[in-house]
């Protein structure tokens, strides 16, 4: 394992994998800057919308009779919703300059991890832990620019090892799926 396989950037929390991007790619990967304070303003507006929905939903929490005492099941949710709305307005009014957002290609890759993660949850019990997790590890590793000839066996061995340890030593039944397990 060479140092170039992985390196950590001083001053950043980031980790980078395999091949560095080309000069052109790197220039284009500086991240987009949403103008001025609109990030916080959008956050504030989204918070306000959530608070309105939260309070509206809380009005449907009713109990028959005097079960709730002076404070029913909707009292604190309503108060929390109103407070959240007030804070959201403050965030809107006190907006700060926006962050650097991921580039289009980074967004695609991030979305791919999210979608893969969702699909993983859906197919885990059918495919079983070993198959689903190895596939997931390969997808994520590929996005981190893994050399496939090393990633595939490492991911498989790791997942088989985890399945063995959890099923046999820790008595936690990870799903076997159609492929079977330990």
């Amino acid at each position: 394992m060479s140092d170039s396989d992985s390196s950590f950037a001083p001053g950043h929390r980031g980790v980078s994998g395999g091949d560095p991007p080309s000069a052109t790619e790197a220039e284009g990967e500086s991240g987009s800057q949403v103008s001025g304070k609109w990030n916080d303003r959008i956050l504030g507006l989204a918070g306000l919308a959530i608070s309105v929905a939260f309070v509206a939903e809380s009005r449907s929490f009713t109990v028959v009779g005097d079960l709730g005492g002076p404070v029913g099941p909707s009292t604190l949710p309503t108060a929390v919703g109103i407070l959240f709305g007030a804070i959201s307005i403050a965030v809107f009014l006190l907006a700060e300059d926006g962050p650097s957002w991921p580039t289009k290609s980074a967004w695609w890759q991030i979305c791919l991890v999210i979608v893969s993660s969702y699909i993983y949850g859906q197919v885990l019990e059918f495919l079983g832990f070993i198959v689903a997790s190895t596939a997931m590890a390969i997808v994520v590793g590929a996005l981190f620019r893994a050399p496939m000839q090393r990633l595939v066996p490492m991911a498989f061995v790791f997942c088989v090892g985890m399945a063995y340890v959890f099923n046999n030593w820790l008595s936690l039944s990870l799903p076997d799926g159609w492929w079977g397990g330990f």
């Binding site: 950590f8 950043h12 980031g14 994998g17 990967e29 956050l43 997931m136 994520v140 990870l174």
Partner: protein, 510 residues
């Protein structure tokens, strides 16, 4: 004498072969977690907690393991601060100032050694402090009624909001968002389901472990993926000599002693936490000792002081955690959630008399953990440097798979993986928008306590909301909460710079 007996009982429980082995494994795992930039202490403890459940460990053993992970990850975080200029968490930010400069000059071994010695001394001193201050303070909390308990939760929220980012509004937004999450599920008092949208699984409420892993671990992977696309990379330094000379040690003794005292007392104050302790002790040491202008250029005292202070503060912060239920950091917020899930509710009673076996075992395990870390870390320094060479393309999938296992093991439900993913996306967006994540967890963990005490108070007072402002104790707690909320601004005025900006710019988790 009573304390000594309790402590001896604690040692008897902590020094069983199983618990020693767990402390050893915890310290090793924790240091590994702290060293790896992809996993912070919060993530590490959150991922490991459900796994401890599958091990069938009793409560004391679980606490020993997770507390050891916590100490270990703190030390590991300092290691990356020194070797890579990458602070593992906010408390080790200040260590980068001189630690990384020492590493660049080929003195990484000495920096790591003084960090271990300072951490050991300060950690041990703070445990003695916890032992002395904890029980009497905990006794006071038994006098709290529901309104006081409600105000203490408000104080805890103010605490975490104040130091968790640049903007107080965003800190409060995060806390209230977390409280909102706590409202999801069946209301135990009336049986009404709230915000479940017909989903049976949601009737049980939101599990903090699933939310924590999503917010921290998954969002961390997404953040690092974005960094990978940017192509950020650089080679790191390697440590050569790993021991310090007696002269270097003697040179640092004053800094260690001062750092330990400052750290413990800063840690006692709710909300100040290890980060402030590190900055304060570094600032003081610089004023007292930096006659030749060597601080910031690789002065060993610039590592010894903050490392001692942040470890002493971590011990000190267990006093408000165990007595009032107020955590001083994201990791202790997770530990609080774990204690609550074990049926121990700090702040709602005297944990030192209600659960003496558990609490004194935890304290004794801290001594054991300190010794173990000191013994482990010197031989392992070179190994840690090698661990840093684990490629990101393997580390990131590994973190995700371990997260999936952790989440799946909570209820054997793949729906939990979907919920975790949703919170991973939210965590990523919140990081981008500089909304702190730890207060969300805090709101979720303490939201139920907030509501129960809110209801009890109003039931007892016949619906009179002024009950929360009656009595000197309520007003005092409220005053402290307001002061704590604006503490960074107050400290900035005193120090002439923005404490929050230093945290936020460091990119460290709070």
């Amino acid at each position: 004498m009573f304390l000594a007996f309790n402590l001896l009982d604690g040692f008897a429980a902590a020094l069983t072969p199983t618990n020693i082995a767990l402390a050893l494994v915890g310290c090793l795992l924790g240091t590994l977690i702290g060293v790896l930039p992809g996993i912070g202490p919060i993530t590490g403890v959150a991922i490991l907690f459900p796994i401890t459940l599958t091990l069938g460990l009793d409560d004391a053993a679980t606490l020993i393991l997770l507390a050891s992970v916590y100490y270990g990850s703190q030390y590991g975080g300092s290691t990356t601060s020194i070797l890579l200029n990458v602070p593992g968490e906010a408390s080790s930010v200040v260590t980068t100032l001189d630690g990384y400069q020492m590493a660049r000059k080929g003195r990484a071994g000495q920096a790591l050694a003084i960090s271990a010695i300072g951490s050991f001394f300060a950690g041990t001193a703070s445990v003695i402090g916890l032992m002395l201050f904890g029980p009497p303070l905990s006794e006071i909390t038994t006098r709290f009624q529901s309104p006081e308990k409600f105000m203490v939760v408000i104080l805890a929220f103010a605490t975490v909001s104040s130091l968790a980012g640049r903007s107080i509004a965003k800190g409060l937004m995060a806390v209230v968002f977390g409280v909102g999450l706590a409202m999801v599920g069946t209301d135990l008092q009336t049986g009404v389901t709230r915000y479940t949208f017909g989903e049976l699984k949601l009737q049980e409420g939101m599990d903090f472990v699933i939310i924590a892993i999503g917010l921290f671990a998954v969002s961390e992977v997404l953040t690092l993926l974005e960094d990978t696309v940017k192509g950020e990379s650089i080679a790191f330094q390697k440590a050569e000599r790993i021991w310090i000379t007696f002269r270097e040690f003697w040179f640092s003794v004053g800094a260690i002693l001062r750092g330990s005292v400052i750290g413990f007392f800063v840690g006692l104050l709710p909300g100040t936490g290890a980060s402030v302790a590190g900055f304060m002790s570094y600032g003081l040491e610089k004023r007292l000792s930096d006659k030749e202008g060597t601080f910031g250029k690789g002065d060993i005292r610039g590592v010894a002081a903050p490392e001692s202070a942040n470890n002493a503060a971590a011990g000190g912060s267990l006093v408000p955690l165990l007595t009032l239920g107020i955590p001083g950091s994201g990791t202790t917020a997770v530990l609080l959630g774990i204690l609550i899930s074990m049926g121990i509710r700090p702040g709602s009673g005297n944990v030192f008399s209600d659960s003496p076996e558990l609490i004194w075992t935890l304290i004794a395990s801290m001594y054991v953990g300190n010794v173990m870390l000191l013994l482990l870390n010197f031989p392992l320094v070179k190994l840690f440097v090698k661990i840093l060479a684990i490629p990101a393309w393997f580390l990131m999938p590994l973190i995700l798979i371990i997260s999936y296992i952790g989440v799946y093991s909570v209820n054997n439900s793949s729906l939990d993986i979907t919920i975790m993913t949703i919170f991973g996306v939210l965590g990523f967006l919140f990081r981008k928008l500089q909304v702190p994540l730890a207060p969300i967890l805090m709101g979720l963990i303490l939201g139920d306590d907030l509501e129960q005490n809110f209801r009890r108070s109003l039931t007892a007072s016949g619906g009179d909301y002024l009950t929360f402002l009656s009595g000197w104790l309520n007003l005092s707690i409220l005053t402290v909460a307001v002061i704590v909320l604006f503490l960074p601004q107050i400290l900035s005025l005193i120090r002439g710079s923005n404490v929050k900006d230093e945290f936020a710019d460091s990119g460290a988790e709070v």
